[in-house]
């Protein structure tokens, strides 16, 4: 975990407490909070998913979360940012990833949050294995 005033980056095996994180980050000058949560859904490519497992190259993943956070802090006028990815087994409806951005005004919060999750999906070394009734498969990006 990397935690500084206004920043939190974490790879965790525990459930992600989004509301708790956003309240801890929020500064009195912030008027906007944009949150993105990635949630385990019940199907993938037409097949019924039972549950997922995420594994990661943990030390590098944490570095990449920090890089993304530092980039969005430089690129947009935001107040604070948190990026947390959970690893291990997760059931349908559980949150695997959360990006939380607070700022004075709403547009940069949306833009930074959206950029961060798009970038995370491309560069953070974490992989998802989907478990179906008849087997399991690594979901690998393109």
């Amino acid at each position: 975990m990397i935690s500084r005033p206004g920043e939190l980056y974490q790879i965790t095996r525990e459930p992600i407490e989004v509301q708790g994180i956003s309240r801890k980050l929020l500064r009195a000058a912030d008027g906007a909070v944009c949150v993105f949560e990635g949630v385990v859904r019940d199907h993938s490519k037409g097949k019924r998913t039972l549950y997922l497992e995420y594994e990661g190259y943990e030390t590098m993943a944490l570095k990449k979360l920090e890089e993304i956070g530092l980039f969005v802090r430089g690129a947009w006028e935001i107040g604070t940012v948190a990026i947390v990815h959970r690893l291990g087994r997760m059931d349908i409806g559980e949150t695997s990833v959360a990006v939380i951005v607070t700022s004075s005004h709403r547009r940069p919060a949306f833009d930074a949050c959206h950029y961060a999750i798009d970038k995370l999906k491309k560069v953070v070394p974490i992989w998802k294995k989907e478990f179906f009734e008849d087997g399991e498969v690594w979901i690998e990006g393109q």
């Binding site: 993105f36 990661g56 190259y57 990833v97 999750i117 995370l120 999906k121 070394p125």
Partner: protein, 83 residues
């Protein structure tokens, strides 16, 4: 020169291990390493066009040179995050 290899996701399944130690000729590149590995693990060849490599936790391309003691991670395209 001695290096440490890390494999993730389907690459880990192919190699059968997450973590390997290897002795490489001096001046090897990441591409040389992959070619060497493909001899032992022919299934890796199918991944060559999409495989990602990192040296000491930074992405590198296949022409990157390797130094003694490097940690080299080899993995498929990432799929964290959300849809």
């Amino acid at each position: 020169m001695k290096v440490r290899l890390l494999f993730f996701a389907s690459l880990k399944d192919i190699v059968g291990s997450r973590d390997l130690r290897l002795d490489l000729p001096a001046n090897s590149t990441v591409g040389d390493l992959l070619t060497e590995l493909e001899k032992s693990y022919p299934q890796m060849k199918a991944y060559r066009p999409v495989i990602l490599t990192a040296v000491n936790e930074e992405y590198v391309d296949k022409s990157a040179s390797i130094s003694e003691g490097d940690e080299i991670a080899i993995f498929p395209p990432v799929s964290g995050g959300a849809r």
